[in-house]
C-alpha cells in the first residue's frame, strides 16, 4: 500500500467501493449469516413461527445416514478427481516439456477443455459411456465387464470422476508446464553429468522442485471437486443411482430446494462454508511458496 494517501477526498472512496460492498453484503454476507441463523431454528409446519433449537440440526445431520454417505461420496469423488487429473496432467506436462518441436501446438490442443462447462463435460462423457449407445461402454462390455452407470453405483462414481478430471487436466497441465519450465536447466544438466537417468532425474530433482506447484494444485483441485462440480453431477447422474454420487453440495440443494428442509439444509451450508474457509486459508498460507515460478 502507498504510505501516504495520494488523494484526499471524503466522499469519493465510499462511492467507489459502494457497488462492490452492496453486492457483497446483500448476496454473500447476509445469506451466510442467514444460513447460520436458520441452522439454529426450527419452523413450525406452516412456517409462521420458529424456535431456537441450538445445535439440533447439526447433531441431526451427522446422525443422518444419507449425510454421512454424502460425506464419503465427496471424499471418494474429490480424491479420485484430484489424483486422476493431477497424475495425467503431470505426465502430459513432463512430455510437453521434453519435446522441443510442437510444444506450443500440444499446449493449444490440450487447454481448451477448461472452457467446456461442467454440465456439458458431464453430458458428453455420459454419451460416451451410455450403456445403450455409448462407444466406450460397448468396448468395456467386449472386455467382459457389463458397464451400466444407470444401475451400478461404482460405475456412476467412476463416470463422474472421469468427466470431472477430464475437464481439470488442462488447468493442471498449464500450471505444471509453467512449473517445469521454471526449473533451472543447469540443475538438470548437473544431474545428467553425474549419470542420473531421465527417470531418476525426474524423481530426485524435478519432482521435488515441483512440489510447491503440486501442493497448490492439490488444494485448487480439492476446491474444484468439492464446489465446482455441482453442474456436472446434477446434469448426469443427479446423485443417483440410489444416492451413490450425491456429494455434499448436491445434497444442500436437494434438501433445501427439493426437500424444503430449511434448517437441515442451512446446517449443511454452514458445514460447507467452514470447509471452504479452511481450504481457502490453506491455499493462502502457501501462496508465498507457490510464487517460486
Amino acid at each position: 500500500m502507498h504510505q501516504s494517501s495520494p488523494f484526499n477526498h471524503r466522499l469519493l472512496p465510499y462511492l467507489l467501493v459502494l457497488p462492490q460492498i452492496a453486492v457483497t453484503l446483500a448476496f454473500f454476507i447476509w445469506p451466510a449469516l442467514n444460513a447460520v441463523w436458520l441452522s439454529t431454528r426450527r419452523e413450525d409446519a406452516f412456517g409462521l413461527s420458529s424456535e431456537f433449537v441450538g445445535l439440533e440440526h447439526y447433531i441431526a445431520i451427522f446422525h443422518d445416514a444419507t449425510y454421512t454417505r454424502a460425506l464419503v461420496n465427496t471424499a471418494v469423488f474429490s480424491t479420485g478427481v484430484t489424483v486422476v487429473s493431477l497424475a495425467l496432467a503431470l505426465l502430459l506436462a513432463v512430455m510437453a516439456d521434453r519435446v522441443v518441436r510442437g510444444a506450443m501446438v500440444y499446449k493449444t490442443l490440450l487447454i481448451w477443455p477448461y472452457a467446456v462447462a461442467p454440465a456439458v463435460a458431464g453430458v458428453i462423457w455420459w454419451l460416451a459411456f451410455n450403456p445403450s449407445i455409448g462407444v466406450v461402454a460397448y468396448y468395456i462390455n467386449i472386455l467382459g465387464y457389463d458397464w451400466n452407470h444407470l444401475i451400478k453405483a461404482k460405475d456412476a462414481m467412476m463416470l463422474v470422476i472421469f468427466a470431472a478430471a477430464w475437464k481439470q487436466i488442462s488447468y493442471n497441465f498449464l500450471f505444471f508446464l509453467a512449473g517445469l519450465q521454471a526449473i533451472p536447466r543447469s540443475l538438470i544438466e548437473a544431474a545428467a553429468l553425474d549419470g542420473a537417468s531421465p527417470f531418476r532425474r525426474f524423481w530426485t530433482v524435478i519432482f521435488p522442485l515441483l512440489s510447491p506447484t503440486t501442493f497448490f494444485l492439490l488444494v485448487v483441485n480439492i476446491i474444484y471437486a468439492f464446489f465446482d462440480t455441482f453442474a456436472l453431477i446434477h446434469a448426469t447422474t443427479s446423485g443417483g443411482p440410489a444416492g451413490s454420487t450425491e456429494t455434499l453440495v448436491l445434497k444442500v440443494f436437494m434438501d433445501g430446494f427439493v426437500g424444503l428442509d430449511l434448517g437441515g439444509s442451512s446446517a449443511q451450508s454452514v458445514v460447507l462454508m467452514v470447509m471452504v474457509m479452511g481450504l481457502t486459508v490453506i491455499q493462502f498460507r502457501f501462496i508465498e511458496r507457490k510464487v517460486q515460478y
Binding site: 502507498h2 472512496p13 462492490q20 502430459l92 462447462a117 461442467p118 446434477h234 440443494f253
Partner: protein, 282 residues
C-alpha cells in the same frame, strides 16, 4: 535437451498424441451424434462417423427448439447466455476495478473492513449458500430478470485482488506527477490507470466470460420464465425429459453450440487466457 535420446522423444510424442486423442474423443462423439437422425442413435454402439443430418438438426434446435423440452429456440438461449456472460464479466470488472482503486489510492475509515468483506466473497461459492441467496434475490424482486441472473454473481474478490496487486506495482511518482499537473482522482483513474490496466482487464475478461457462460445452478434456481432460459438450463431441461432416453441428436447439437463460444475464446485469445488464469490464482 540435456542429452540425445531419440526414443524418449518418440515416447513423449506418443504420450502427448494419446492425451490429445482422449481429450478430443468425447467431443468427436458429440459432434458425430449431432449429425445423425434420432433413429441412428439407438444402435449399440452409436456410429463413429458423421451422418447427413447436420443442417437439419442444428436448424431444428436453433430456430424451433426441442419439442420435448418446452420448445424454446436455442438461438434465444445462446442470446441469453451471451447477455449473462457479458453482464457478469463486465459487471465484475467494473465494480472490482473501482473498489480496488479506492482501497489502494485513498485513506479512509473502514478501508480495512471493506477489504476483508470483499475477501470473504472468495470463500463462499454460490453453491454453498444457495438457499439464503435465492431468498434474498426473491425478496427484492429479482427472480426471472436479467438482473437476478447477473447481479448476485458480480461481486468478485479475485478481480479486486488482481487490480489491487497491479495498482501497487505502479510507481507512486506517476500519481504525484499527475497531481502536480492538476489531475484529480477521477481524471487520474480515467486517463492513466485505466489505459495501464488494459491487458489485465482483457485477461480477466476471458476468464470471467467463461465463468459467466458456464453458469448452471444459479440460472436454474432464479429463472422459471422460458424466455430467460440460458443454454445450460436448456441442456438441463433436455436431459431431464421424463421416462425416456434423451433425444441424443438434439441434445448433442445443443452441447456443441454450448461448448463452441467459450472454446473459441480460449483458443483465439490463448495468451490472454493463460495470463488471466495464472494472475487470478495469485
Amino acid at each position: 535437451m540435456v542429452e540425445n535420446r531419440p526414443w524418449l522423444t518418440v515416447i513423449a510424442h506418443v504420450v502427448l498424441l494419446l492425451g490429445l486423442l482422449v481429450t478430443a474423443f468425447p467431443v468427436w462423439l458429440t459432434f458425430v451424434a449431432s449429425t445423425h437422425e434420432g433413429t441412428a442413435l439407438t444402435q449399440f454402439p452409436m456410429p463413429l462417423w458423421p451422418g447427413r443430418n447436420l443442417l437439419e438438426n442444428y436448424g431444428t434446435i436453433l430456430f424451433s427448439g426441442a419439442k420435448a423440452a418446452g420448445g424454446q429456440p436455442v438461438l434465444l438461449m445462446l442470446a441469453n447466455s451471451l447477455i449473462v456472460a457479458l453482464g457478469i464479466a463486465v459487471g465484475k470488472i467494473a465494480i472490482s476495478i473501482i473498489a480496488a482503486y479506492a482501497i489502494v489510492y485513498f485513506r479512509f475509515p473502514l478501508r480495512q473492513t471493506f477489504f476483508w468483506m470483499i475477501f470473504m466473497t472468495l470463500m463462499l461459492p454460490v453453491e454453498v449458500r444457495i438457499m439464503p441467496t435465492f431468498e434474498i434475490t426473491a425478496s427484492i424482486g429479482l427472480l426471472n430478470t436479467y438482473g437476478g441472473l447477473i447481479i448476485p454473481l458480480i461481486a468478485s474478490a479475485t478481480a479486486t485482488f488482481l487490480f489491487r496487486q497491479f495498482f501497487l506495482t505502479i510507481p507512486v511518482e506517476l500519481v504525484e506527477a499527475a497531481r502536480l499537473d492538476g489531475a484529480g482522482p477521477i481524471r487520474f483513474f480515467r486517463d492513466i490507470l485505466l489505459p495501464l490496466s488494459r491487458t489485465n482487464i482483457a485477461a480477466l475478461f476471458v476468464i470471467l466470460f467463461i465463468y459467466g457462460w458456464n453458469q448452471y445452478l444459479w440460472p436454474l434456481v432464479v429463472t422459471t420464465d422460458p424466455s430467460l432460459t440460458t443454454i445450460m438450463t436448456g441442456i438441463n431441461a433436455l436431459v431431464r425429459v421424463p421416462d425416456s432416453e434423451p433425444q441424443w441428436h438434439l441434445l448433442m447439437a445443443m452441447s456443441m453450440l454450448a461448448m463452441l463460444p467459450p472454446i473459441l475464446v480460449v483458443v483465439v485469445m490463448q495468451k490472454l487466457f493463460v495470463r488471466g488464469l495464472v494472475e487470478t490464482e495469485k
